[in-house]
Amino acid sequence: MNTNMGIFAIFFSAIFTQNILLTYYLGMCSFLAISRQVKASLGLGAAVIFVMTCTSALNWLVYYYILVPLDLVYLRFIVFIVVIAAFVQIVEMIIERVSDALYAALGIFLPLITVNCAILGACLFMIIRGQNFLQSVVYGCGSGVGWMVAILAMAGIRQKMSKSRVPKGLEGAGIALVIAGIMALAFMGFSGVIK
């Protein structure tokens, strides 16, 4: 992966050509569970953008200033998930104290995000691709936006389908997976647009 890639290219490729949800299938569980309602999708999407941006910054610092000097790189999976969980818990507490409205809108989604594999995935990808600090933050933010775009489109489709008559065996998660598959097929069209 080219490390000199422009910041904008990283941002847009994280949204379209390498959408974390539709190209790598990460963060599926909350995607399937929450996308029934547009409002909830909006809230969760915003929370994912926020957490992804912050944790990819934190984990970048942890990785290059703690793990690499101490030669503990093999612990990165555990350390990353601990950092994410701790960060999410602290943010939740702060939001609860500071703003009731924000807590009502975002608070319930934060615990869900701790176990969202897309967050950990974005942190691991930024290491694999050898991005520098700024690139990692932009990549995290772009991945979050891409995740939000996907879940919003999904929520819209599921809303539109409220009148559809889906076969019994496919209701709920089944039809959602079929839709996600076709969405992924459509997103393949972007492959190669931003290299």
């Binding site: 547009v38 919003l152 489109a153 929520a155 819209g156 489709i157 809303q159 539109k160 389908m161 009148k163 559809s164 008559r165 889906v166 076969p167 496919l170 039809i175 079929v178 839709i179 598959g181 076709i182 969405m183 097929l185 459509a186 997103f187 393949m188 069209g189 972007f190 492959s191 190669g192 647009v193 931003i194």
Partner: protein
């Protein structure tokens, strides 16, 4: 009135318009590529009808004649050398996962023909992307042959991208390689205007699609992007026109609000140019339609929300 209905097939007069528009294109595809294109069409229709029939028996409703429009469009979007069984696989997949699992006619979220085509396009890239046959010329041309014998890897998109030249007359009249129904620009325009006149297609989508395509194509061409074609040849090469009149206008999967339709068409035109020019694929129409389908519902919701807010504010 209900007692007279056939239990197997429900005939919808609206769908007839689409057939009248497509028949000349079918005849042209035989002229250019031989009787094999008719064989593809027949296989696709049989497989498509049986798929829909299998589901409709469970749903206890007749098969709607819309399935034949889907079948025709699907068949006309195929390359002339495609093995027959692949065409059948494509239409079965498209109708099953693009239409019937959503509840059948009038309930599909995506364009079923293109779900099927995208599936075989990605699953069998060699057959759907590499083998094209040169069209016949003169008379009786394809009427005297089963299949074209000259197999090349070239469609106008490829030739023009590599800097080759094709006379504009050939592009417009359809003497180029390509999918069965996409080559003859004149017949597509005529058929398209016919369904516009009959209001089977929405003029908002078509106009904004034209504008989006020409505007973006002009931008990438004027800025000298590598591989970008000049707007007019680009308009007549590849499947943009066919997609613009027959695929993106499919009313069920399209945007449902009037403002949404303008944006929807523009988005489609712009995406075709972006995918054509920059992606690894040679042609972008199919993916552009599916992507527009993906974003149409959330766009409608947002537009309705904004309109409701405005109404509440003006009160």
């Amino acid at each position: 009135m209900a007692d007279k209905k056939s239990r197997i097939l429900l005939w919808q007069p609206m769908m007839a318009n689409a057939f009248y528009a497509l028949v000349p294109i079918v005849i042209a595809s035989v002229y250019f590529f031989g009787w094999r294109s008719l064989a593809l069409l027949v296989i696709v229709n049989i497989a498509g009808f049986l798929t829909e029939y299998a589901f409709c028996r469970v749903y206890r409703q007749p098969v709607s004649s819309a399935v034949f429009v889907t079948n025709f469009l699907f068949a006309l979007s195929l390359p002339p050398t495609l093995p027959l069984w692949m065409a059948a696989v494509g239409v079965i997949f498209g109708l099953t996962f693009g239409k019937m699992v959503f509840g059948g006619f009038g309930r599909n979220v995506f364009n079923p023909a293109l779900v099927g085509r995208a599936f075989i396009y990605v699953a069998f890239p060699n057959h759907t992307n590499a083998f094209w046959s040169d069209p016949f010329r003169g008379f009786p041309a394809g009427f005297a042959h089963f299949a074209g014998d000259a197999i090349t890897g070239a469609t106008p998109m490829t030739i023009l991208k590599q800097g080759g030249e094709i006379p504009l007359v050939d592009l417009v009249a359809g003497f180029t390689g390509g999918s069965l129904g996409e080559t003859c620009g004149i017949l597509i325009l005529l058929g398209g205007l016919y369904i516009l006149w009959k209001k089977s297609a929405d003029y908002r989508i078509v106009i904004s699609g034209f504008v989006g395509f020409l505007l973006l194509q002009w931008i990438v061409w004027a800025t000298g992007t590598q591989g970008a074609l000049a707007p007019v040849p680009a308009l007549f090469s590849g499947s943009f026109l066919f997609g613009l009149f027959f695929f993106i206008t499919e009313p069920v999967s399209a945007s449902q609000t009037n403002i949404g339709k303008w944006i929807y068409g523009f988005l489609f035109g712009a995406l075709v140019v972006i995918i054509r020019t920059f992606s690894v694929w040679r042609e972008g129409t199919m993916f552009a339609v599916l992507l527009a389908n993906v974003f149409a519902p959330i766009m409608d919701l947002a537009i309705r929300e904004i309109q409701a807010k405005r109404k509440a504010a003006s009160r």
